[in-house]
Symmetry: C2
Subunit: 369 residues, 2 copies
DNA sequence: AGGGCTGCCGTACACGTGTGCACTTTGGGG
DNA sequence: CCCCAAAGTGCACACGTGTACGGCAGCCCT
């Protein structure tokens, strides 16, 4: 039956079409299939399928022989064919803002770890914090028939309720920025974390404490600001609106914000930053002004990114167990994928890490009561 | 007509049924297929297939009607079924050491960007710099039938020659650590970069310059060390073996290495670090010793990670266009996937970025000629 | 001797999409 | 009036794997 493979040679006419459609043309060279192995082993292909799955339905020595042949031929089962028939691809989608963001990197790491342990592969997609793009990549992942999805720092939020019904794919959000009621999520205790940082500053004698946030409106910024205000209020310190300013979650925004704060007539002696990136910028702006950290101004961050311990001075910050959060999200997704109803909202504790960027408030000329 | 869509609305009751029947697996709830659309449009499924591909073979208004129905039904073509028949999954695999490494994160970003633009999805896998694990994940990606692969900082190297033949999948390596002849790769100009950094230090009057490397044996470390030695030699400075020490590519290893260097009788006045992470540790160790950067000791890094500009002092380093390198690797992979033979080895220029962690050598008591 | 059971294997589907080919219809030209 | 081309559509496959079911030995029991 040599004429059977005849159809494999006919690549050229099709190649023209493919090139017209700008589809890159791979060699139609077929990797060995289950049928090839079956032919070599003089059995039918279902027997091969069963043998490779260690099914008890096939004779032990036959199975061993088949496996031997398969190994010799370098056979690797096609996950795509299997996915088509089993309706499960053993694949999950992960949407992050951008992978080069250290926070996303850590979360991704935790997710990949758990997924890989269970034999799942992960599709990575960037949303660039753009809601439209986020929607698009989620759709594309759905076309890939992922078994589940994790979305970090989602800018879409409640939009997932209808989408979730439509896609019929379990989704877990990590630190979503517009939290809704009925979606599964794992979030850091923003309020408690920021409160702890602020209380720490207050405990060091600071009274004039600034807050540099993210772009307004996002959940984590809102909650951290609330924690900051709660600490102030509990210590009987009046909230000064001019001290709570907006950044952009990056050093650049913090430099601008901090510079303005320092130019004011009554500058803060401490600043509670939205995250470590913001703290990075704040510290640079402080030094650019000729002031010292923490002698003149104390600084706190949030996240405890890897570099925080290596700054000068090492940064006091609120640790977010980012990698662990990724793991938790993935473990949760596995539960959902296996049909178990798991906890809808998981809140992870934040931990204040005191290093050397915070110190007692400088003795001031008591301008303020 | 209206009763037709009745079955789709019943989302929750079906979930209940599923639970009642104790079907833990995925809802057998089938997403709409091409055949469902065909039935609704009163055409055959090939016609639907063609309509959705904008094939000229199908009548324009029929096509429009079909597309309308498909959109209404929330139809999303199954990439896995399509992949099975077309033999191309429009998917690439990316293997990195760990994603939370800033270098890998940047490269990943560049790759995702280009891939996504062309409608390709990327599988992410960590090798944890473990050769055995690297081999395993490559095999698993092959089972997923990826159209191509990118592997960063490969620890397997020449092993890819047989693997490449066996898998029959185009592979591009980024900064592979055991470069072979016949594999495609994009690499940074390690030697030239390190030489530029060292020459910069020599130009500032330093004569006693240390080098803190990675764990020995890896290509990038070997080449950077060679660049360092080349610069010394050209300046007529004798290479001092006790000044070229091993780190581990992380702050931890650098702290240990730098501390020892400083304890020696004749400590260096400058140190050329394997990468920015190493520089981070070196700077910390220098300060722990009560010395100042750059007054007492100058420090250079390699990579120009995002935090380099925000350190105190801002780090002089060799910029590696990491993201661009990811893009180049991916563009190259696309060429290979479309059958074009592209350049085998691509070398990317490195750029010295002078900041404030390097300064003129301190006046010394001329112990050395 | 016949019936049933067990172990092992093959047959015949199914999954959802793409595509070569044959077929029908229409219109135009001879 | 017939033939042929062109346009549009359906039929029948194929892709590689999984699985329900039926069949065929061999054995035990009646």
């Amino acid at each position: 039956m040599a004429e059977k493979d005849g159809d494999r040679a006919a690549g050229t006419p099709r190649a023209g079409i493919r090139r017209a459609l700008r589809l890159p043309d791979r060699p139609p060279l077929r990797p060995p299939s289950i049928k090839d192995i079956a032919r070599l082993a003089h059995v039918s292909h279902p027997t091969v399928s069963r043998a490779l799955q260690n099914s008890p339905l096939v004779n032990a020595e036959t199975a061993a022989r088949i496996r031997k042949i398969a190994a010799d031929q370098g056979y690797r089962a096609s996950a795509v064919a299997r996915g088509l028939v089993t309706r499960r691809t053993r694949t999950v989608g992960l949407v992050v803002t951008t992978v080069n963001d250290p926070f996303a990197g850590e979360v991704t790491c935790g997710i990949e770890e758990i997924a890989s342990d269970r034999g799942y592969a992960v599709f990575l997609a960037n949303s660039h914090a753009d809601p439209a793009r986020e929607r698009r990549v989620v759709q594309e992942l759905a076309e890939r028939r992922v078994d589940g999805m994790v979305v970090t720092s989602s800018r879409v939020g409640t939009l997932y309720l209808p989408l979730l019904k439509e896609l019929d794919v379990p989704i877990v959000l990590v630190n979503d920025q517009y939290p809704g009621e009925f979606v599964h999520s794992v979030m850091i205790a923003n309020l408690e974390g920021a409160r702890a940082a602020t209380e720490h500053l207050i405990g060091l004698g600071h009274r004039r404490i600034a807050y540099i946030g993210d772009r307004g409106g996002y959940q984590s910024d809102t909650e951290r600001l609330a924690g900051y205000r709660e600490a102030l209020s509990q210590a009987g310190i009046r909230f000064a609106p001019e001290l709570a300013v907006e950044g952009n979650g990056l050093p650049s925004g913090a430099i601008e914000a901090m510079s303005k704060l320092l130019q004011s007539g009554d500058p803060p002696t401490a600043v509670c930053c939205y995250n470590d990136m913001t703290a990075l910028g704040a510290m640079q702006a402080i030094r650019a002004r000729g002031l010292r950290v923490p002698k003149d101004v104390s600084v706190t961050g949030f996240d405890d990114l890897f570099f925080a311990a290596y700054l000068t001075p090492p940064l006091t910050t609120v640790r977010q167990p980012m990698r662990r959060m990724g793991q938790i999200a993935m473990e949760n997704l596995f539960k959902l994928m296996s049909g178990e109803e798991s906890m809808a909202q998981i809140k992870v504790q934040a931990e204040l890490i005191v290093r050397e960027s915070t110190a007692r408030a400088p003795k001031r000329e008591g301008r303020h009561g």
